[in-house]
Symmetry: C2
Subunit: 542 residues, 2 copies
């Protein structure tokens, strides 16, 4: 699969430079490219114990993303999925370690153990105090004496990081880190392999299967199981963890292995809460991508039994964006729906002239049904006439419950009727038009100004302007002319409607997708409807 990289050889150095450039000056890197790739804090004064971690790249944001106040002091980055050299680790240690010493936090892989271990020896030869802890949180391979280090490493980074920032000494930090490691259990699951830069993607996991118990270097999981749902996947993970933990309350770290979508991760958080582990989870970190395996569509869950000391350190603030924070895991907070979703209907009232006027409007639109459908067939799906006539018929039926004697309430009531009976975006737009006219009218504007305010709101929401080949092309000139009487408005509407036949391109509504040439010579059906309405009303008046 194609990826956003340049040369594979430059991948890690360029990525580190990207991280450093976008850190706002908080980070620097050592001048050791291409072999020594170490990211350090720029605000470090060596009076506190330095925390150095790292390992292969491909686990981002680990480890460079966790360098900063309250977490790591330096990250030593190897090639993708390969341990950094002894020299690189030594450079990291020497760059940040002062009299308080340095704690190395190493994931349990032979290469990392050896290279960090030898670098520690070399640093000690300079008289530096260096201790090292090895994280082995993976429970996927219970028979293996050397369990892998996976996302639970973040607990060590955060807890030791908070304590180091507060001035804990090296022995205390080493002992605490060791206690965190003792308590941490992790396991991962994936639906697909990851894409290693420069290598073809391995198709190891068949469709419909999931790998349970996998590491963070693309290696195979311990077993493949049939995958059914997110619920079943989380149950399988929870079952493995449940048999390996005590009765304490825990913090869970829900880690995205890189390629699961945020939507999926939220569903997995929901399922984690519902799993057999749920009642033992007091806190949660994530869901977030913290210790990834490139773009692997998978997740891992890490658990740590809580002590007051661990809780305080986990909750201690850090400005690092890669650390998603720790939150109490709570039942879903559900708030009652607000009042007002059932619209307030105005009291019905009668007013013979208004009833006659409205009825006439409806009759005009019903009479135009076939003509408007025929016009719409040229530019859309041929239903403009039926949509408007249907709304008109519904309005006739609703006439007796309308507040006909209260003009302001009437506009709003018509808007409400239209929004409930007329489908499609034109129904919503006309509902917005009438609701806004009602608003303007209630604030005391005269009728023609109120109508223009409605038009303006409809344009703001719908986005159509004059000349876009919509009903606006007739409605806007008609309303502008309305001050001069209904006949002037009708003439303006007709002129505007006819003009749409000369517009080669629709810029809003469905006709926007029609090729230009096909529209010329045909009036827009919405504009025609407006013209017919005003003309029909004149015929009645005259």
């Amino acid at each position: 699969m194609t990826q956003f990289i340049n040369r594979k050889e430059d991948l890690v150095t360029e990525a580190i430079d990207g991280v450093v450039m976008a850190s706002g000056g908080r980070l620097a890197r050592l001048d050791g490219y291409p072999h020594i790739r170490v990211v350090v804090r720029t605000d470090w004064d060596r009076s506190k114990v330095a925390l150095v971690s790292g390992g292969g790249s491909g686990h981002e944001p680990a480890h460079a993303g966790f360098v900063g106040q309250g977490m790591l002091t330096a990250a030593v980055c190897g090639d993708v999925f390969a341990s950094p050299s002894v020299d690189a680790v030594l450079a990291g240690i020497l760059a940040v370690t002062g009299p308080a010493g340095c704690l190395l936090i190493v994931k349990n892989y032979t290469g990392d153990r050896l290279n960090f271990g030898l670098a520690a020896e070399r640093a000690r030869a300079f008289g530096l105090k260096v201790s090292m802890v090895i994280v082995d949180d993976d429970i996927a391979l219970p028979d293996l004496p050397q369990a892998r280090g996976v996302a639970g490493t973040l607990f060590v980074h955060k807890i030791a990081g908070a304590m180091a920032e507060q001035g804990a000494d090296l022995d205390t930090l080493t002992a605490t880190a060791q206690a965190v490691i003792e308590g941490t259990r992790s396991i991962g699951m994936s639906l697909d392999t990851c894409t290693v830069p420069g290598s073809p993607k391995e198709n190891r996991i068949p469709q419909g299967m999931a790998e349970l118990g996998l590491g963070i270097h693309g290696e195979s999981g311990v077993e493949q199981i049939a995958y059914e749902t997110a619920a079943q996947a989380m149950q399988a993970v929870a079952a493995k963890l449940a048999r390996d933990i005590g009765p304490d309350m825990h913090v869970a770290l829900l880690n995205n292995l890189g390629g699961a979508s945020a939507l999926e991760m939220s569903v997995l958080a929901y399922e984690l809460a519902r799993s057999e582990l749920g009642r033992q989870l007091a806190l949660i970190v994530g869901p977030a991508a913290m210790m990834t395996s490139l773009d692997m569509r998978g997740f891992s869950v890490s658990l740590l039994p809580l002590t007051p000391e661990f809780t305080a350190a986990l909750q201690s603030p850090t400005p690092l964006a890669a650390w998603p924070g720790v939150h109490a895991m709570t039942p879903v907070n559900v708030v009652a729906l607000p009042d007002g979703l059932t619209p307030i209907r105005a009291l019905p009232s009668d007013h013979p002239q208004t009833r006659a006027f409205l009825t006439r409007c409806c009759e005009i639109l019903i009479a135009a049904e076939a003509d408007l459908n025929a016009l719409d067939a040229k530019s859309g799906d041929g239903d403009t006439g039926s949509t408007l006539a249907g709304a008109a018929r519904a309005l006739l039926v609703a006439m007796d419950r309308l507040p006909l004697a209260d003009q302001t309430q009437l506009y709003r009531a018509i808007g409400l009727e239209l929004s409930q009976t007329m489908g499609g975006s034109s129904g919503v737009l006309l509902a917005i038009f009438f609701a806004a006219v009602g608003d303007a009218s209630s604030s005391g504007l005269p009728m023609d100004s109120a109508l223009r305010a409605g038009l303006e709101r409809m344009q703001q929401i719908g986005g159509a302007q004059l000349g876009d080949r919509t009903m606006i092309d007739a409605l806007e000139p008609a309303l502008n002319a309305l001050g001069k009487g209904l006949e002037a408005a009708a003439a303006a509407a007709r002129k505007g409607a006819d003009h749409t036949a000369t517009l080669s391109r629709a810029k809003a509504g469905r006709a926007a997708y029609i090729g230009a040439g096909q529209l010329i010579g045909h009036v827009d059906p919405g504009a025609e409807a407006v013209a017919r309405l005003f003309e029909g009303l004149c015929a009645r008046v005259s």
Copy 2:
């Protein structure tokens, strides 16, 4: 592609519940499932202007992830890539809007405009002050009068959110949001399509091609271009943006469309800084997944010209993990390598007895080369003899530059020689052994204690215990017996080495991968080397 979901129908409600549960009580959702899916702040007192946004789901963390202090007040969530209903939007508005009013932040899609627009009208009918802005930051389709709303929406959320939190009134917020929208420009690029839950994945983008100018709903990009490198991809994006912005300094928002790895996103940040836009970028938000298109392997860049007001609002703190913060975009901070990477070599000195002893050790190992290789062929790759003999030959060559007269320095010097001449993990482990012995010796321990301290360190780093079928099985008993003389040590080493032939399983080193049955009857080559060494030294002494 398989995904971590349950039923497609429950995807959005379950994901929202997951977000609410993991929010530490900061969030709640309205009691309107399944149709009304609204996430609200629980710490909201309605005295400030409420900010309501939303739209289709599939863009996580937008929009629910941005609900909280300093950003949104409520998010209204539709189905995946589908607008929420008018009722859902109205419920969101009514749930959070007090006398200060409400600003709706809507991305420019017809469904969202209409449904948010009509909901606003209905809310106004209750006497609420509601205004609405429409974000149209996408420059992919310059000819379209209605540009789409994409990741630039985050600028509006953050800037209006910070000002609302500080008590700005509705008119000020609306005008500021409008000004942000006027200035914002975005464009996206992707190497692959997204996987819509419940639909087969569309294979629209051929290998080696990229789509430029795409939206966030899986729709096709404006053009397909040949994809070469991250540099060329960013150049194409930067070129589109560069011709559309003024000379001001800008903030860039580098958004992961969901499926690009963190490593790739950091490379893209690096390339953004190097692009023609680079000199106009004062601040950067991300790289991070903020407005995604499910799992699309793509990114977008959004730009906003900076004003002091925008900068202050962007920098204003928010506790939301989904907001990655804004940082100054700086050149790469490069720090000089620390002193000490070139190891300090002790001054050479001579000491005839030590020279003779060391030489004899080397000769013993060289003589054992063929035998040890043969043993290793049973359990590994047949090179233990050559590796040790090679190191011995190198040590003979190095003899004249060793500090033979200074025992403490000598151990360290031998460790250093071995780490530089002997490949593989055994070289590193022996280097660690000798370095640690030197450390212990320099702190005044007698020789046998110092040797045991070295063994302990080697075991801590290497992880092998007695009985794991390694050189430890001979070395540990030999060092324990050393107090009783060299012959006792040699006898103990031999006994320990021979015992390894009865161990059916190796637990460390390469032999751990060999089936149990194949090892029985064969002595471990590392243990054999230790036994030969002690036996050979006895022969010399006797």
